[in-house]
């Protein structure tokens, strides 16, 4: 038996890398043909391969927020579109948070892969489409109080049947969004991506034969499961509690508790969110798929990154999320911010909980928000409506061995910021400044990463803006004696004024971090400050040479170098 087992490991290596290269190819098609900058500059999408039952077999590295929820999306969809009704050439689209989805902007496309007349697999692309209708241009209706405010819900439907576009679905969808030309391009890209992947995967499956291929994929999931169990076994058994807070939900000024207790026993982990706040009126509720993704994301950060990513990894991880809470929301509450804002808070809480068990890999909290600044208006030059979803980057938490990275996308994304020169070519803003913020990283033996500042002036159009962010109040926590990162801020200065105000002061909004449909006029300015990351270990233990270097480079000011690290004045 030894021989057959060994041969499998070799073929498994080969099939896994073939699947990943098919996923990458899907991703490249998406990147090159899509229209939204959140897609093609920020790369906010995921490409994966799933079994006909919805188990994930392989995924390419693009955006990690989405992988944990994928099995739920597919299994939910198959309840409404039974497998036997799916034909070659069909493509299914879905975005409904209340049918296993993550949030309305995230559209999941999947394409069946048939070999020898059997449906063996699906190629899956999940992408963030910037405009989905609803209360605000750009998808993030931060004052929404029900799902219907958040844009068009797309239950699982076929957008292509046997290779032909289903015109009715296209018409219905495009009639409900503000930027149909862009949405058309993004949807075409998603379809093209899953079709390219399906073609490539079919070749691989044919080569090995359906049964052999399925067997190898089953073995591959077992292998990842075994690797994950071995990692968990290395962590000491015990109960590990932690909690963090969201500032508010955008509707009511009340903090929201994310409570977690992780139980490690031998080679399994239970992640229990009992004690988290009941679901809230505003749009930061997380669907179960988001909470799964966040818990998995945290644990993947604390274990060997080389474990192949598939559903097998998640078998030893059990997530308990009570229904009706902020981590498992019930219909019809709003939830668009759950996927971007609540996810990092959940993932951070799990990392915080497990830090005593995994001190080498755990890290202090990162800024934990994507800033989600969305806006729309009339493009005079091209005589059409534009909508943009802009993300900003944050300071990351320090690890035991290194300072936190400056200006890096939060843990549930891996998005890129849009270049100023591309941004200003497309949108009527003038950027005055894009900078790192000194002293924004939490003090520590290793220091938290720095947040950023961006200042815009509105040029020659009225722009309708909304934002859904967090950590204006509750800062990124440090670990083992490390200090917190500084808070984020969003400020506004009216044309002709010289006073910066927050959105509560300027527009009477309920929250400084979550506000909708503010009309910015020519000459008005907006400043977005992103949170810094937490520090690790006592600042007293920081190497004085590193403090000197930070001071010389302007990462800390002389004042903080003295206050936090005791560096004497003029000690250059």
């Amino acid at each position: 038996m030894g021989t057959s087992k060994a041969t499998d490991f070799v073929t498994m290596n080969i099939i896994e890398s073939s699947m990943i290269s098919a996923c990458r190819e899907m991703g490249i098609t998406l990147m090159k043909t899509s229209y939204s900058t959140i897609f093609n500059e920020a790369l906010d999408f995921t490409c994966a391969i799933a079994s006909a039952e919805g188990e994930m077999w392989a995924v390419a590295e693009f955006c990690p927020a989405q992988i944990g929820g994928m099995p739920l999306i597919i299994s939910s969809s198959l309840k409404e579109i039974p497998l036997e009704t799916i034909n070659p050439g069909d493509v299914i689209v879905h975005n409904d948070p209340y049918r296993g989805g993550l949030h309305t902007p995230e559209h999941t496309l999947f394409c069946p892969v048939f070999v020898d007349d059997q449906l063996v697999a699906f190629t899956v692309a999940i992408g963030h489409v910037a405009e989905v209708g609803g209360m605000v241009p750009g998808g993030f209706a931060s004052e929404a109080t029900e799902i219907f405010h958040e844009g068009i819900r797309v239950p699982p439907v076929k957008i292509k049947k046997r290779g032909e576009d289903v015109e009715e679905v296209w018409k219905l969808w495009l009639a409900n969004v503000r930027t149909p030309r862009y949405n058309y391009g993004d949807m075409r890209a998603l379809i093209s991506g899953v079709e390219v992947g399906a073609e490539r995967l079919a070749q691989t499956i044919s080569k090995y034969g359906v049964d052999h291929f399925r067997k190898i994929c089953a073995d591959l999931m077992d292998y990842s499961e075994a690797r994950m169990r071995a990692e968990i076994r290395d962590l000491p058994d015990g109960a590990y509690p932690f909690h963090d807070f969201m500032d508010n939900d955008g509707v009511t000024d009340q903090e929201i508790r994310i409570n977690v207790e992780c139980f490690i026993q031998d080679d399994e982990i239970v992640v229990d969110f009992e004690g988290s706040s009941p679901q809230v009126g505003g749009p930061i509720n997380a669907t179960l798929g988001v909470t799964w993704s966040a818990a998995y994301n945290a644990i993947l950060h604390l274990t060997d990154p080389s474990i192949p990513k598939n559903s097998g990894c998640f078998r030893p991880i059990h997530v308990l999320a009570p229904a009706g809470t902020v981590v498992n929301v019930d219909f019809p509450a709003p939830e668009v911010g759950g996927n971007t804002e609540t996810h990092p808070r959940i993932a951070g809480a799990v990392i915080g909980a497990l830090a005593p068990a995994s001190p080498e890999r755990a890290f202090a909290s990162e800024g934990g928000t994507h800033l989600n600044f969305v806006f729309g208006g009339q493009d005079k030059a091209n005589d059409e409506y534009f909508a943009c979803y802009d993300i900003e980057v944050v300071g990351w938490g320090a690890t035991r061995h290194a300072d936190g990275n400056d200006a890096t996308d939060s843990i549930n994304g891996n998005c890129r910021v849009t270049p100023v020169e591309v941004f200003e070519t497309r949108y009527p803003w003038l950027t005055e400044e894009v900078s790192l913020i000194p002293d924004s990283g939490g003090a520590g033996a290793t220091r938290g990463g720095l947040g950023t500042r961006r200042i815009w002036t509105c040029l020659d159009a009225e722009i309708t803006c909304s934002q859904l962010t967090d950590r204006h109040v509750h800062q990124a926590w440090g670990l083992n004696g490390g200090g917190s990162g500084t808070s984020g801020m969003t400020l506004y200065m009216a044309a002709g004024s010289s006073e910066w105000q927050n959105m509560m002061q300027a527009f009477g909004k309920s929250s400084t971090s979550k506000w909708s449909n503010v009309v910015i006029k020519p000459g008005d300015r907006v400043e977005i400050v992103t949170p810094g990351g937490g520090g690790y270990g006592s600042p007293a233990e920081r190497d004085p040479e590193l403090v000197q270097e930070d001071l010389a480079e302007g990462y800390v000011t002389a004042e903080r170098a003295k206050a936090d690290y005791g560096l004497g004045a003029g000690g250059d």
Binding site: S17, Y184, G185, P305, R361, T408, T425, L436, E553
Partner: protein, 674 residues
Amino acid sequence: MSRLTVGIDVGGTFTDFVAYDPEGKEVTVWKNLSTPANPTDGVLQGLKQLTDSIRNLRLGTTVATNAILERRGARVGYVTTKGFRDVPFIQRGNRKHHYDASWVKPKPLMKRRDCFELDERMLASGAVHKAVDPAEVEAMAEEIAARGGIEAIAVNLLFSYVTPDHEIAVRDILAKALPDVPISISYEVLPKWKEYERASTTIADAFVKPIVSRYLTDLGTRLKERGGVENVAIIKSNGGEMTTDAAAASPIHMTVSGPTGGVVAARHIAAQLDVGNLVTFDMGGTSTDCSTVVDGQESFTTNFEIEFGVPIQVPMIDIRTIGAGGGSIAWIDKGGMLRVGPQSAGANPGPACYGFGGTQPTVTDANVILGRISPENFLGGTMALDMAKARAAMQAIAEPLGLGVEETALAVLRIVTNNMTGALRSVLTERGQDPRDFALLAFGGAGPLHVADLMGEASIPTGVVPNHPGQFSAFGFIMTDARVDLERTVQMTSSRFDLDRANEVMGQLVSDALGNLKAQGYEQGLSVSRTLELRYLGQNYELEVPVEFETFDAETVQRAWATFHDLHKARFGFNIPREVIEVITFKVTAISVRETPHLPTLPKASGAPEPTAHRQVHYDDGALQAAVYDRASLGDGAVIEGPALVEEPASVTVLRPDQTLTVDSHGNLIIRNR
């Protein structure tokens, strides 16, 4: 009378030499050990064996690349628009890997304290929002001088690709005030949008300028002392040559110098074979390079990162490197899976069979165990290999796998083949190419060993092993032309296309490119080609559309749009005929053709080729007796049926049992599946 053309490729371990004598139509190849402390020592040493004088000496060098990778360049002062000094530090905000909390974001090639901001601003439209104040620039120059230690300056102002006036004004003032400090301005280095990528490229240019300049001056002096060398040129990342003066002025064009020779040679081989499409497979000890020749032309990119977070986006041949080669180590991971690489045994200790102390099994050890490399005839018999050590190393991983030593070695090769297939696929399918339309050109020390297996796995019907596979880049240098690629972002759309502006921009690029060649003294065989980078309005990546007319007018521009719709359909499977097209980049290539070598041909083979030996070679289907041939003995038209091996000093070509090899009139080995 000077007559030779000599190509020299300075690598990490060896410096390769190829000399072409146009009178005798002879090609001579040799190599000697590189001298990393001063690479010019190795070059001069190797030239000692030439008695004829040299007309053209062309050098591929890693001096700029190594300076960047080892962070050994100049202290750079960075000058930018007020509010934007942190752009090189913020970068794009993405991480290299998900889930790896130990990843540390790279810092740029200069210190934050050496960044200087100017209160000036251009707009996307090209309008001046805030003019440059010369007094402010003069004060900045004083500050830089007073600070001391700044060895080079990079200037990158927002929207300089739209209107370079501010950058040029700043450069002129700084140059006057700081005459000894070299200055790189982004408009000259890379007049394209995206401020971070342009900053990184411009900073890298300034960073390597002093070190490259010193290196080239020293090289020039020592070649002059030696005497007998008429022209010295440096190979650019675009596969063309440039004078040493041009190289010193824009060293950023040298970052991928050496490997381009293999691709240029591939273009000539494609012509020799009369095939349009080749994919190159250059496998060495620690890394493998892949690239393509499509319709007889090399493929180019401006999307290169020398390492994660350090983009260098000047136009260059699109060569993809993966960190896997003959020295890659096979190992068993924590879950029991067999893996190959990315760790490499390198040259020291090297594979276990080298006997230099390596104990971990490598790809080369697998090839020795399987009978593909002869322990007695490695590197032309100059280095004996230790089979027992190779087997002992492989045995250590065979046991946990429950496999025999040979089976394990075969498994290692299967995984290598699959990894290489991924690399080939990435260069082909990312451009929408079908592997079945290509021939696979294998070179480097290890390429010919793996070509036969790769053909099957990658669905490539024909394999080719050219002459001089071990010195193939240097071989390419005897065929290079002088080449300048210029491009500029000038955004417009098909619905409102400004014919005058388009003609002005393209005309300027053409005259700049030709002017650049002529200023270097390249006057003969000049030709120009033009392309546009287009996309649908809203997309973010462009397709390159050839412009086969000299002037944009109402009629010709329609042809460009039609071509784009066709290309989009061919590449991505769909197009949007009613959609507005956005123009992003205007591009021009100017070439001055150098002499084309007349490569020697082989005498006709007389009868069937004679094997020098037979030995047992392990294939997936079992062990077979393979005939072994000496490549030097093969004539034009010789036919060899697999299983077989063709040995030459630099490499071994392996033939599978189901393959036939023929030798063409130039000596290329052509492999086909039966």
